[in-house]
């Protein structure tokens, strides 16, 4: 039996062939090493993310999240829901909080759920993968599995917004959370002093307001370089995508020469745990992480 069991909420972007599919690949390998058992919530649906606010309204979004809760409780009773995506985690947690504090909303939500043949009584804990790693396992445990420390690598830990605010990881500050730096260090790499670690990447507005978003992304990448980092690491699929895929656009617009690989923490861990480039999903990088590829090959 696995050490820890959780109801897994992978989210849309982590599905096969989607923008964070490499994240899922690495999380799978990581969990194997750490003996974490994650069972996907059957027939889970999209959380709505923040951006759906205008079209969706309040109750429909709550209903979507409530459906996931109900399914989880029905099929995986008593298990915490674990999300790997920051938006999924936040959307679910917000919904949980609001439903638990507002009976009217809870009643209405259940009326809606009934249409899908579900009922919600108890809302499970909603946690981010990182919380599981830090709180349930601990840095020491995480470090104990390291076979190949990422020695000499300088990495900027980019926390971004939604794993950090408004809930954040317990014990961390909103302005200078350290958990990502600690994760980097627990796999033997060096976390650089990176002063844009919580700057917003523009989120969904990367689509609708590209100029604004890219201006922010530029600040982030620039600061990462300034800190001496050779790659960026993040816990959020949207942060990852935004900071990685727009570098070319930014180079064109601002005349910069950005070519900074952007990875997930889980990818680093898989490599440090001795996994292959494939296990780590390195083939999923738009900007190839050459140093890591070489490292994995050794």
């Amino acid at each position: 039996m696995a050490k820890k069991e959780y109801a897994f909420y992978p989210g849309c972007s982590s599905q096969k062939g989607a923008s964070a599919s490499n994240y899922l690949v690495s999380v799978d390998s990581m969990c194997k090493t750490l003996d974490i058992k994650m069972t996907e919530i059957p027939d889970w649906n999209c959380c709505g993310a923040s951006i759906s606010y205008a079209e969706a309204g309040e109750l429909p979004r709550l209903a979507m999240n409530a459906r996931n809760f109900a399914l989880s409780e029905q099929h995986l009773p008593g298990q915490d829901i674990v999300a790997t995506c920051a938006a999924c985690w936040l959307g679910s947690r917000e919904s949980k909080e609001r439903l638990e504090h507002n009976n009217t909303l809870m009643d209405d939500t259940n009326k809606a759920l009934k249409e899908a043949g579900l009922n919600l009584k108890v809302i499970p804990e909603v946690r981010h993968m990182v919380e599981v790693l830090i709180e349930d396992l601990g840095y020491a445990e995480l470090a104990s599995h390291v076979k190949k420390p990422l020695e000499g690598m300088k990495i900027a830990g980019y926390v971004g917004c939604q794993t950090n605010r408004p809930f954040g990881i317990q014990g961390e500050s909103f302005e200078n959370p350290m958990y990502l730096d600690k994760l980097i260090e627990s796999v033997g790499a060096q976390a650089t002093k990176f002063d844009q670690k919580v700057t917003c990447c523009g989120g969904a507005l990367a689509f609708s307001e590209p100029d604004k978003a890219q201006a922010q992304i530029k600040d982030i990448i620039e600061a990462a370089y300034d800190s001496g980092a050779e790659m960026l690491v993040t816990p959020c699929p949207l942060c990852q995508a935004n900071t990685e895929v727009y570098q070319g656009q930014i180079n064109k617009k601002y005349g910069t020469k950005f070519q900074l690989p952007v990875l997930y923490y889980s990818q680093l861990m898989v490599l440090a745990y001795g996994g292959s480039a494939k296990d780590a999903g390195l083939n999923g990088q738009v900007i190839r992480a050459r140093r890591l590829e070489e490292f994995a090959g050794k």
Partner: protein, 210 residues
């Protein structure tokens, strides 16, 4: 202007604050603002390069009854949901949600600015996500690029082609999704019924005619 707009305007007469309190998500918090401005200073997009009316100013405008200026404003559509304002507000006003709430309300009563790109994104995203229960990223991208017509879409797609190509090469953009492949929930029917009910209940609660 839509009927809904007139209906609401008539319902609340000159009391725009009350209108926001009852209609916009978390609108009941607007009155709690003490105009410290920490939200306005915390907003990342407010420095790149700036909004017409930052949150605290919008709140003051609501209290001053500036209905047209607020509802027609582009400002709340600039929210990136970064929650900086939310966590720093000394009055614990859920500013992020209020921004969303005001925007949603403006849209709902037909006052959102024409061609508001974030609104379009929101519509597209939600419709995409709820169609099958899960997001189809390729279709989402497509509909975003082609929102202003084919020519414009091609132009944008051309400009972004390196982005898309990169993702495709990395196996993170599945072109098959464009033609109806991809992920979906099993109980699509149930989801649709659930959402219809939710929408109905929400309209009821807010006294909005369906």
């Amino acid at each position: 202007m839509s009927d809904m707009n007139q209906q609401m305007s008539a319902k609340y007469k000159n009391n725009f604050l009350k209108e926001i309190e009852e209609q916009a998500e978390m609108g009941e918090w607007v009155k709690m603002c003490m105009q410290c401005g920490v939200c306005s200073g915390s907003c990342p997009t407010n420095f790149h390069p700036g909004w017409e009316h930052p949150p605290q100013e919008l709140f003051m405008m609501i209290r001053a009854g500036k209905r047209d200026e607020v509802l027609d404003s582009q400002s709340m559509w600039m929210c990136v949901s970064c929650y900086n304002c939310y966590v720093r507000c000394p009055r614990k006003v859920p500013i992020t949600h209020i921004m969303h709430g005001i925007a949603e309300y403006a849209y709902r009563i037909g006052r959102a600015p024409k061609n508001q790109p974030t609104l379009h994104l929101s519509q597209t995203f939600w419709n995409n996500a709820t169609k099958t229960g899960r997001v189809n990223e390729v279709q989402l991208t497509q509909s975003l690029y082609f929102k202003d017509g084919i020519m414009d879409g091609i132009k944008k797609a051309m400009a972004m082609q390196d982005v898309a190509l990169g993702l495709v090469k990395a196996g993170r953009l599945n072109v098959m999704e464009a033609i109806g492949g991809g992920h979906k929930c099993k109980d699509i029917k149930g989801i649709h019924a659930m959402l219809a009910k939710a929408k109905e209940l929400e309209n009821q609660r807010k006294g909005r005619a369906a």
